[in-house]
C-alpha cells in the first residue's frame, strides 16, 4: 500500500503519444528499452509511463507479429526486475513492485469474499509473471505454492510449514493460522509446525499469536506445498496489546475442561511472598481448589490431592511444593506454558483420576543470549537462555533458591535460632535441531527442600528433607507434513529423609523413595485439518521403597526396620481420533488400554476370610520371588468428546472419560503432606477408577473479548481410598490393614467469565460436592454407618475473581478475591477420662465445617521505562496478600482442659502480608 503510493508519487510520468492499433509487429535486437517502448507507442494507442533511470541501461530483444501489446511488453520485460500495470491504454512500469488490480487495502479491509475464477486466474498471472523471485516476507507480495501444473480446478491443497519468531528463529507454538473465506484454521504445535488444508487458488493466510504482530501472506496455491512464516515480536510498550490468538478456541475446541496458562499472562496477578507462581494461579480457575494456605496439592473437581498428574517435560512430579505448599517447585520463569485438563483428558495421558497439569519448559533462544530473574524477600531466581550452535542448539538453565533463614532469625530470634529452612530447584533443557524434521530435547530437573526444626519433644524429628529429580530425553521426528511422531524416555525419582540425632542411643534415619522409569512413543497423523489421529504406547515401571528406618551412629540402639520394596509395571496403548464431521460438529473419541502388574520380590500377608483385615486376622505370609506376578489389573479407558457449534460465538460440548489410578498416597490427613507415602495397587489395594460425564455451554461476547462458560459434571468413583480411625502408614508393613476402599461420587457446576482488554481477568463460581461411602462388612470398616459422607476436601461453594486494570502502559493494578466454604471436620460429641487422662470422643466423620474462607489481594505492577536500548527490562511488583487481614481458619482442633473441651482454630495469615519483588529480563 505504502509502496504503491510511493510509486505513484515518484514515477516520472512521460506522456507519449500513441496510435490506436491494438497489436504490434516488429523485432528488436539488443535495442535500448526506451527505443523499443517508443516504437510501440508510435505503432499503437498505448502510452507508457516509467522512471527513466530504471530502464536507461536495459536492452531488449524479440520479434513479434501481430502480438497484443501487453504480451509484447511482458515479453520484453521478462528477465528484468520490472513489472507493469495496464490501465486502459496506459502502461505503467514498476520496479520490483507488483500492482494488483485491486489495491492491497481493498483485500484486507473490504474483504473480498467472493473472488471470481477469473480473478484467481489474474492473480496467478501476476504472480507468475512478476514475482519469480518474490520477497516472501512482504505482505503485499503474492507467494506461489506448489506446482502450477498440478492444479485442479476447485480442488484443495494442504500447505504446511513452520511459524517462527523472526529474530531468533524460535518456533512459535499455539499460533492461529487461518484463511477467512472459507474459514479454515490450524494451530501451530510445539515446534511451530502447522498444516492447513484450503481450497486452491488465491488466498490470504493470516497468522496470529499473542505478543506477535499478526502476519498476512497472499498466496496462490496450485498444489500442496510449504509455507514458512516468520513473525515479528510486537513492541508491546508502544501499543496496547490485543490478545487475539485462540480468541475463539473456547468455542471451537472439541475438548472441554482444558485450560492453558501462559506464564506471560500471569504477570499481573497479585502474588504471595514475591513469587509468581503458575500453580497458584491455577487454583483461581474454576474447579481447582486447595485446602488453604500452606496446604500442598490441589483438589480438582472433587478429586483427592493425589489424583493429579503433574508433568514437566513428560516426567511426573510427586511433590509439587516447596516449604509445605507455600511455593511450587516450578520456577515459572523457565516454564513456557501449562495445560490443565480436568475433563476430557486426552487418551495419551493416564494414571490419575482427576486432572493432568502438563508443563512445558521454555525452549531457549537459538539466536541470542538472554535471561530473566526475580528478587523477593524470600527467594531469588535466575533463568538463562544460552545459544550454543546458532540456529541449532540452545540451552536453558534455571535456578531458584531461598534465603529465608534471615527471616527465621528476625521473627523470633531467641527461641528458634536453631531452625533452618532451605530449598532450591534447578532446571536445564538442551534443544538440538538436527534439521527441520528431527529435533532432540534433553532436560534435567532437581528440587530439594531441607528443614532443621526444633520441636517440643525430643522424639520429634529434627532434620527433614525431600527431593524431586528427573531426566528426560525426547526425539521428535516428522515423517511428512501429515505425519509426525516422538519417542521419549524419562526417569523420575522422589524421596524424603528424616534424621534424628538429638539422643545418641535413639538416633535414626528414615527414608522413602520412589523411582519411576518410562518410555513413550506417540504419533500424530493429520488426514486433513479436520481429521487427526493420535496413537502411541507407553511403558512404565515403578520401584517404591515404602520406608526404611536405620540406626544412625555407633551408639544408636535403634533397630533396622525395612519395609519390603514394591515393584509395579504399567503398559498402555492408546488411540484417539478427532474428526470434524461438519464445521458445526466435531467429535473426538479414543481409548486407552492399560495393563498393570504388581510384581515381586516381596512378601504378602494372608488374612482370615470373613474377618476384618487386621493384625489378629493374619494367617500366613507368602513370599514372591523377583519378577513373580502378584496381581494383575487391566482395563479399557474410553474417552469421548463432542462439540456442536450453535453459531459463531457459542457452542455446546459433551464428554465422557474413564481413568484408572494404580499409585496412591497413603495419608490420613486431608492435604498432601511431605511425609506421605505412595503405594502401588496390590493384591489388596485395588486401582481407583473414575468415570466422568460433563456437559458444557460456551458463549463469547463482544468480539470474543468476553468468554463465558457453564460446565456441569458428574463423577462416579470406585475404590476411593480412605482410612480406618488411627491408621498409621509410616513404616507399616501391612498397610492393607489400615486402608478402606469405597465408592465415591462428585458432581458440580462451574460458571466462569473471562475478559480481555484493558480491564482483564476472570471470575468463576463453582458448586461442587464430593462424597464417599465406606460400608464394609465389619464395624471397623464402616464409617458413618455406611452412609455417604463428605470427604475432607468437599467444599461446595467457591468464588474466584482475578482482575487487572491497565492505567497506562507502565502501571497496572490488580485485585483478587477468593471465597470458599470451609472444609468438613470431625467434631467431638462427648468426653471421658481414661487413666486420669481426659479424652475426646468423636463421632461421625466430617459432619461439621470450619468457618468459610474469604480473602482479598491487591497488587501493583510498575514496568520500567520503554527505551529500546537499555541494559535490562524490569518491573516491580508490589502486592498485599489478605488485604482485609481476615482470620481465615486453616483448621480447627480440640483439646481438653479441666474437663472442658475447648475448640481452637489455626490461622495461617491473620494479617495482611505486603511483598515487593523486582523482576528483570535481559
Amino acid at each position: 500500500m505504502r509502496q504503491l503510493l510511493f510509486l505513484l508519487l515518484t514515477v516520472c510520468i512521460l506522456p507519449v503519444y500513441a496510435q490506436s492499433s491494438e497489436t504490434f509487429s516488429g523485432s528488436f535486437s539488443n535495442t535500448p528499452l526506451t527505443v523499443a517502448l517508443s516504437e510501440i507507442e508510435q505503432s499503437s494507442a498505448y502510452v507508457f509511463y516509467y522512471e527513466k533511470s530504471w530502464i536507461d541501461s536495459l536492452y531488449v530483444s524479440g520479434s513479434f507479429t501481430a502480438t497484443e501489446i501487453p504480451a509484447v511488453v511482458s515479453s520484453l520485460l521478462s528477465g528484468t526486475t520490472l513489472s507493469f500495470f495496464e490501465y486502459k491504454k496506459a502502461i505503467i512500469l514498476t520496479n520490483n513492485v507488483i500492482i494488483n488490480d485491486k489495491p492491497a487495502i481493498a483485500h484486507s479491509f473490504f474483504n473480498q469474499r467472493r473472488q471470481a475464477t477469473n480473478e484467481i486466474e489474474k492473480g496467478m498471472v501476476f504472480q507468475r509473471e512478476y514475482l519469480s523471485d518474490g520477497d516472501e516476507t512482504d505482505e503485499n507480495s503474492v507467494i506461489e505454492i506448489g506446482n502450477r501444473n498440478l492444479m485442479k480446478t476447485g480442488g484443495s491443497i494442504t500447505i504446511a510449514g513452520y511459524i517462527r519468531e523472526k529474530n531468533n528463529q524460535e518456533p512459535v507454538e499455539g499460533a492461529l493460522i487461518y484463511i477467512e473465506e472459507p474459514f479454515v484454521s490450524a494451530i501451530s504445535d510445539a515446534s511451530g509446525f502447522y498444516s492447513l488444508t484450503i481450497p486452491n487458488g488465491r488466498k490470504t493466510v493470516i497468522v496470529q499469536f499473542v505478543g506477535m504482530k499478526p502476519v498476512m501472506r497472499k498466496i496462490v496455491g496450485f498444489s500442496s506445498g510449504k509455507l514458512n512464516i516468520d513473525m515479528d515480536v510486537e513492541i508491546i510498550a508502544l501499543q496496547e496489546v490485543t490478545i487475539q490468538a485462540d480468541k475463539d478456541i473456547n468455542i471451537t475446541n472439541v475438548q472441554m475442561g482444558v485450560t492453558k496458562l501462559n506464564v506471560e499472562s500471569i504477570k499481573n496477578v497479585p502474588i504471595l511472598l514475591g513469587e509468581r507462581d503458575i500453580l497458584k494461579i491455577a487454583t483461581t480457575l474454576a474447579g481447582v481448589q486447595t485446602l488453604g494456605e500452606g496446604a500442598s496439592g490441589f483438589n480438582v473437581r472433587g478429586g483427592k490431592s493425589d489424583q493429579n498428574l503433574f508433568l514437566i517435560n513428560n516426567a511426573s512430579i510427586y511433590n509439587t511444593s516447596h516449604f509445605f505448599g507455600f511455593f511450587s517447585v516450578f520456577n515459572s520463569d523457565a516454564i513456557q506454558n501449562m495445560e490443565m485438563y480436568k475433563s476430557s483428558i486426552p487418551a495419551s495421558y493416564g494414571g490419575r483420576l482427576s486432572s493432568v497439569f502438563d508443563l512445558q519448559v521454555k525452549e531457549a533462544s537459538h539466536q541470542k543470549f538472554g535471561g530473566k530473574g526475580s528478587v523477593s524477600p524470600i527467594t531469588t531466581g535466575l533463568t538463562l537462555e544460552i545459544p550454543i550452535i546458532r540456529e541449532q542448539t540452545s540451552l536453558l538453565v534455571s535456578g531458584r533458591t531461598t534465603y529465608s533463614n534471615w527471616v527465621l532469625k528476625k521473627v523470633n530470634n531467641a527461641s528458634f535460632r536453631e531452625n533452618r529452612v532451605s530449598f532450591y530447584d534447578l532446571l536445564s533443557q538442551l534443544n538440538h535441531k538436527i534439521n527441520d524434521n528431527n529435533l532432540l530435547t534433553f532436560s534435567a530437573y532437581h528440587s530439594n527442600d531441607a528443614f532443621r526444626l526444633n520441636s517440643d519433644t525430643l522424639f520429634s524429628f529434627s532434620n527433614f528433607s525431600y527431593q524431586n529429580f528427573n531426566i528426560t530425553s525426547r526425539w521428535d521426528h516428522r515423517f511428512s507434513d501429515k505425519f509426525n511422531g516422538s519417542i521419549s524416555a524419562v526417569q523420575t525419582n522422589y524421596g524424603y529423609q528424616i534424621r534424628y540425632d538429638e539422643s545418641a542411643p535413639n538416633a535414626f534415619s528414615q527414608n522413602f523413595d520412589i523411582a519411576e522409569k518410562s518410555a513413550k512413543v506417540t504419533f500424530d497423523y493429520f488426514f486433513s485439518d479436520t481429521h487427526k489421529l493420535v496413537f502411541g504406547s507407553s511403558l512404565k515401571t515403578y520401584l517404591i521403597n515404602p520406608g526404611e528406618k536405620l540406626p544412625l551412629g555407633e551408639e544408636s540402639l535403634v533397630p533396622s526396620l525395612i519395609i519390603g520394596k514394591e515393584n509395579g509395571r504399567e503398559a498402555a496403548i492408546y488411540l484417539s481420533d478427532q474428526y470434524d464431521i461438519s464445521p458445526r460438529l466435531s467429535l473426538s473419541g479414543g481409548a486407552r488400554f492399560v495393563f498393570y502388574q504388581a510384581v515381586g520380590e516381596r512378601t504378602s500377608y494372608r488374612y482370615l476370610e470373613g474377618a476384618p483385615r487386621n493384625f489378629y486376622s493374619r494367617t500366613d505370609t507368602l513370599y514372591y520371588g523377583k519378577g513373580e506376578i502378584i496381581q494383575t489389573y487391566s482395563g479399557l479407558e474410553p474417552r469421548f468428546s463432542a462439540r456442536y457449534t450453535l453459531d459463531a460465538v457459542s457452542s455446546v460440548k459433551l464428554s465422557y472419560n474413564r481413568n484408572r489410578q494404580y499409585i496412591h498416597t497413603l495419608t490420613n490427613s486431608a492435604s498432601l503432606s511431605p511425609t506421605d507415602i505412595w503405594r502401588l495397587s496390590s493384591e489388596y489395594i485395588r486401582p481407583q477408577v473414575a468415570d466422568q460425564v460433563s456437559l458444557g455451554l460456551y458463549r463469547n461476547f463482544r468480539g470474543n473479548s468476553i468468554e463465558t462458560s457453564l460446565e456441569g459434571y458428574y463423577k462416579n468413583l470406585q475404590n476411593l481410598l480412605d482410612f480406618k480411625v488411627g491408621a498409621e502408614f509410616l513404616l507399616n508393613p501391612a498397610v492393607e490393614t489400615a486402608v478402606l476402599q469405597g465408592r465415591g461420587k462428585s458432581y458440580g457446576v462451574e460458571f466462569s467469565v473471562k475478559k480481555s482488554g484493558r480491564l482483564n481477568g476472570w471470575f468463576n463460581y463453582t458448586y461442587a460436592r464430593t462424597l464417599i461411602k465406606l460400608d464394609g462388612e465389619f464395624a471397623e470398616e464402616r464409617i458413618n454407618n455406611g452412609n455417604f459422607y463428605p470427604t475432607s476436601y468437599d467444599k461446595p461453594h467457591t468464588l474466584n475473581l482475578v482482575t487487572n486494570y491497565k492505567f497506562t502502559r507502565r502501571y497496572s493494578f490488580s485485585f483478587n478475591m477468593n471465597y470458599y466454604t470451609g472444609r468438613p471436620v470431625t467434631i467431638p460429641v462427648s468426653a471421658y477420662n481414661v487413666k486420669g487422662i481426659p479424652s475426646i470422643h468423636y463421632s461421625d466423620r466430617n459432619a461439621f465445617r470450619i468457618p468459610d474462607y474469604f480473602r482479598v489481594d491487591v497488587g501493583l505492577n510498575i514496568e520500567g521505562n520503554h527505551k529500546i536500548k537499555k541494559l535490562a527490562h524490569s518491573f516491580w511488583a508490589l502486592s498485599v496478600y489478605n488485604l482485609t487481614g481476615r482470620d481465615n481458619p486453616f483448621s480447627v482442633f480440640f483439646d481438653v482442659k479441666n474437663g472442658q473441651i475447648k475448640g481452637y482454630q489455626l490461622i495461617v495469615f491473620g494479617n495482611a502480608i505486603p511483598t515487593v519483588s523486582y523482576n528483570f529480563k535481559f
Binding site: G294, N412, F416, F451, A504, L906
Partner: protein, 387 residues
C-alpha cells in the same frame, strides 16, 4: 505438659506469625457410650474398674454406671467378682494381684442388662527399670514462647527375655517447698511444733507415655524422655523426687493408647490423623455395632524412685527464685506491743520469728506468701520421703 505442637504449626508460627484462636462450636449430637476404665497388675492391691458414661461437652458431669456386675476370669476359669466401693467404681479385695503369664478376661453386666466382655489378655512381666537419670536440655515453653532450659528425665530399661516390646509409663513427682521466711511462731507467739514453711507437693503425669523396646533376644528402652521440668518452675528448688512406673503392655494396648493419644492431641495441622471413635478391648456381647470406649489394661508393673537436690543437677542449671517475690525489706519488725494490731488488721501476715536479744529486737512479720506454704501444699511429709 506435652501438648504436641507439630512441626507444621511451628513453621507457621515462627515464620508467618500465625496464631491460634479459640473456636466456639456447637456440640450438637451428644453420644452416650459406656466407658470401661480398668486395670489389673501384678501389684498386690485393690484393683479398680470404673464404669461410667461419656459426658456431654457442654455439661461435663460424671455419669457413673452403678449396680453392674463386674468380674475377672483368669485362664484357669477362676472368677473374681469386684465390689462397687463407690458409685461406678468396682474393686477387687486389697490382697488381690495378677500373676505374670496368666490370662485375664473382664466381664461386665450393667444394671440395664447389657453384657460386655474383653478378650483374655496375658499379664506380661515388667522388667525392672535399669536407671532413671537426667540431663540439661532446652525445649520450647508454652508460657514464654521461647526455648527454655530445664531438666529432662530419662528412663533406661531392658528385658532379657525379649517378651515385652511395649511399655507404658507414668510418673509421680513430689517436691519439697521451703518458703523464705517460714513462720516459726503462731499468732500468740508460741513456737510451732510443726513449722509452716516446709511443704510437699505431688503431681502426676497428665498424658500417656509409651516406649517401644528394641532389639531381638534382649529388648531395650534407652534414653526414653519421661518428664521435663523447666528451670523456671518450682519443682527443683530444694529437693525433688520422681517415681516412674513401667507397665509391660500388649501390642493391642499399645495401639489403643497411641490412637487415643493422637486423637486427643489435635494440633491443627492438616497432617493430624483422622479423628474418630477409638475403640478399646471391651466389646458388647449383644450388639457388635455398639461403641464401647475405654480399656481394660492387664500389665506387669515395675517402678523406680529417685531423689535430687539442686546441687546434683548439671550445669547450667541454676536454682530458680521462690514462687513469690519475698525481699527481706518487706519484713515488718514490730514491737511486742504492736503485734496484735498488725495481725488483726492484716490477716495475711504471719509471725516469721521473734528476736528478744539480737537487734533489731521485735517480732518479725512476713506475708503469707513468704512465710507459709500450707495454704497451697501439704505440710505432711510423705512416707517415702528421704531427706
Amino acid at each position: 505438659m506435652t501438648k504436641s505442637v507439630s512441626l507444621y504449626t511451628l513453621i507457621f508460627s515462627l515464620l508467618l506469625g500465625s496464631c491460634i484462636l479459640p473456636y466456639d462450636f456447637n456440640p450438637e449430637n451428644y453420644q452416650r457410650s459406656l466407658v470401661v476404665d480398668g486395670s489389673l497388675t501384678n501389684e498386690t492391691k485393690a484393683h479398680t474398674v470404673r464404669l461410667f458414661y461419656t459426658q456431654p461437652i457442654d455439661s461435663p458431669v460424671y455419669q457413673p454406671a452403678t449396680q453392674a456386675v463386674v468380674s475377672i476370669t483368669d485362664g484357669d476359669g477362676v472368677v473374681t467378682y469386684l465390689t462397687e466401693t463407690y458409685t461406678g467404681t468396682y474393686q477387687t479385695m486389697s490382697d488381690f494381684s495378677g500373676v505374670a503369664g496368666q490370662t485375664y478376661q473382664l466381664t461386665v453386666e450393667t444394671a440395664d442388662g447389657r453384657s460386655y466382655q474383653t478378650r483374655p489378655v496375658t499379664l506380661l512381666l515388667s522388667p525392672p527399670i535399669d536407671s532413671l537419670y537426667m540431663r540439661y536440655e532446652y525445649l520450647p515453653s508454652d508460657e514464654t514462647h521461647h526455648n527454655e532450659g530445664g531438666i529432662q528425665f530419662f528412663v533406661d530399661s531392658h528385658d532379657d527375655t525379649g517378651n515385652t516390646r511395649y511399655f507404658r509409663y507414668d510418673w509421680e513427682e513430689t517436691y519439697r517447698i521451703q518458703v523464705p521466711f517460714p513462720s516459726l511462731y503462731d499468732n500468740n507467739l508460741v513456737y510451732r511444733t510443726s513449722p509452716l514453711g516446709t511443704c510437699y507437693q505431688t503431681n502426676v503425669s497428665k498424658s500417656f507415655h509409651f516406649a517401644t523396646a528394641t532389639g531381638t533376644g534382649q529388648t531395650r528402652v534407652a534414653e526414653f524422655p519421661i518428664h521435663f521440668v523447666f528451670q523456671y518452675e518450682q519443682q527443683l528448688r530444694t529437693r525433688y523426687s520422681l517415681k516412674v512406673k513401667q507397665y509391660a503392655i500388649s501390642d493391642e494396648a499399645y495401639q489403643y493408647f497411641q490412637h487415643l493419644n493422637k486423637n486427643n492431641e489435635g494440633s491443627g495441622s492438616l497432617f493430624d490423623q483422622q479423628q474418630g471413635a477409638i475403640i478399646g478391648n471391651v466389646f458388647s456381647v449383644d450388639d457388635a455395632s455398639e461403641i464401647v470406649l475405654g480399656y481394660f489394661e492387664v500389665a506387669g508393673v515395675s517402678e523406680r524412685r529417685e531423689f535430687y537436690n539442686p546441687r546434683d543437677l548439671p550445669p547450667p542449671f541454676r536454682v530458680p527464685p521462690y514462687l513469690y517475690h519475698c525481699p527481706y525489706n518487706d519484713i515488718i519488725i514490730s514491737s511486742f506491743d504492736s503485734v496484735d494490731y498488725y495481725l488483726n488488721t492484716n490477716p495475711f501476715l504471719l509471725v516469721y520469728m521473734v528476736s528478744t536479744f539480737t537487734p533489731p529486737v521485735g517480732v518479725y512479720l512476713a506475708s503469707r506468701e513468704c512465710a507459709d506454704c500450707s495454704w497451697y501444699a501439704s505440710t505432711i511429709k510423705p512416707d517415702f520421703w528421704i531427706d
